[in-house]
Amino acid sequence: MRQRVLAVLQGEKPDRTPFIDRIDFWYKGRTQVGKLPLEFQGMTLPEVHGIVGMGHQDWDYPYAIKYKKLEIILTFEGERIFQEVDPEITNFPTLWGWIPIDKPGVTTTELITPVGKLSFQHRLLKESISTGTTRPQMISHPIKDLHDFKIYEYIIENSEFVPRYEAFTHREDEIGDHGYLVPIIERIPFQHLLIDAIGELETFYMLHDNPKEFRRLLGVIDEQVTDKLKRLADFSAPYVEFTDNLDGFMTNPLLFQEYVLPAFQSYCEILHGQGKKVGDHTDGDLKAIVHLLPETDLDVCESFTPAPTTSCTFEEAWKLWKGGPIIWGGIASYYLEDRVSEVEFREHIEHLLQLIGDSPIILGVGDAVMSDNDIDRVRYIAERIENHPI
């Protein structure tokens, strides 16, 4: 599967259309509630991928960031669970991997610097554990008012790049040829502020009320991202991906053109210069910005989730992105739900495959195979593709 993905990324023709995505939500959710089908019981996630026939997509960071002069304290439901000075973090401030995901509750994170303190919270529900979507939700964000901007700036400015290429390669070897470990890099600055640092609606208020400070912070983050990307020259990966969760409803065309487009163009230039293809995690509703994505210079729109899960149809993206970016995804998880008949599901898959023909695409399920999805339908798609060479 890895070779098929690489072939598509490098503009070559693979023997089969790659079909690769995540079934970890399905696997974890089914395991949690004791509903993992008998044939998969006792198997690891990669083994399940092997049986189902869908390539194993996973992600990891090829670098961490060391935040100097920063003390981080995590408290879960009032109990201190972690404390460190000058921490090395791969995903700041989402802190995936740091926030407990084995039990429901609220985790409070404090960031203490010489210029002030920030705090924010994640919450995990028991339903998120039982459905396998164990991703704690940020319920408050580090930047809450104007005063917090300078503290956040201080944190960003006092950070340094720490490569973890060996750890990445080790994980890549573990995934093996039936999968693809995607090297992910952080969100671009606007998405960083929108989703993580400030929060969606609050970002719009900040942008309206304090545009000067907002843009200043964007500039600080941009400098850090640019520096990181230049340092990735030593990292010999054919493909890297921004983790933006891009959505045209929130990042509307005006915001996209002002803040997102120039960032992508600038970052793609750096990464293309290193011989890397560049993708973005675009799992939101792209309807409003689908026509703008070809201008970004991105090579791949990964986790593309079409209608009816979003309002952007596969057909319009397929038509508008003929010259790129390449779609990774394209099958809405909706078609794997029992509200869709078997006939409708199969007709949809045939329609997609006919439309695609031998054009480049990395097929997958947008955003992922969910715990309530029918795994036999995933297996059907994999077999359908395997039996039809390009």
Partner: protein, 211 residues
């Protein structure tokens, strides 16, 4: 349109909170009735915001900033409206279903409904069916709005409707649903009265039930 009312309307449309407040105060001082200021100034402006949003002229930020300006004006009017016994257009309960913490869509719907003249009871996120039922039991509720962002939490919409049926309250309230994975077909299947794909259309839908 009265000049002061016109300036309120324009201030809301451009999201100018300070001018909205100033002009509402001036309108009250000039003897205009709170009902007229509300209807012709604030609600008319938010109706236009909704139209522009549906037409793609406004996006979420513009809607949000306009709703904040409207709310600032409404804060001044609220005690006056209560004193003159002006009733809201209707009363709406809103909540994100059990197991789901996503609140952006719900909050936008809340703003647009308030902008349309409704009184909102926001139950928040991760709302269990029995909490929705209790809120309907309190009486006087015209519309119950449920939001879900995940396919795994969407079934709780049906569970909540079933709970309303079991409590013999289903006929007392119109149920509207929305959220990324929700479709008109799904709304029909679970027995909801309506589906709205966005906040502006949610306000129009709710208005159609109380009109």
């Amino acid at each position: 349109m009265n000049e002061i009312i016109k300036s309120i309307y324009t201030a809301v449309l451009s999201g100018d909170m300070t001018t909205t407040q100033e002009q509402v105060e001036q309108a009250v001082g000039s003897g205009l009735t709170p009902a007229d200021i509300l209807q012709e100034g604030l609600i008319s402006a938010m109706t236009e915001v909704g139209r522009r949003f549906e037409e793609g002229e406004y996006y979420v930020p513009e809607m949000l900033i306009a709703a904040r300006a409207m709310k600032a004006g409404l804060t001044i009017l609220k005690p006056l409206l209560a004193a003159s016994d002006v009733q809201p257009l209707g009363k709406v309960i809103l909540g994100t279903v059990k197991g789901d913490l996503h609140d952006i869509g719900k909050n936008l719907v809340s703003m647009m409904l308030e902008g349309a003249g409704f009184e909102i009871i926001d139950l928040g996120v991760d709302v269990p069916p029995d909490k929705f039922v209790e809120a309907v039991k309190s009486g006087g509720i015209d519309v119950l709005g449920m939001s879900a962002l995940l396919t795994t939490t969407m079934p709780l919409m049906k569970t909540t409707i079933d709970a309303l049926v079991a409590a013999q309250l289903r006929d007392q309230v119109k149920v509207i649903v929305g959220g990324a994975p929700v479709t008109q077909s799904y709304a029909d299947d679970i027995g909801a009265d309506g589906y709205a794909p966005d906040a502006s259309r949610a306000a129009s839908l709710a208005k159609s039930f109380v009109g």
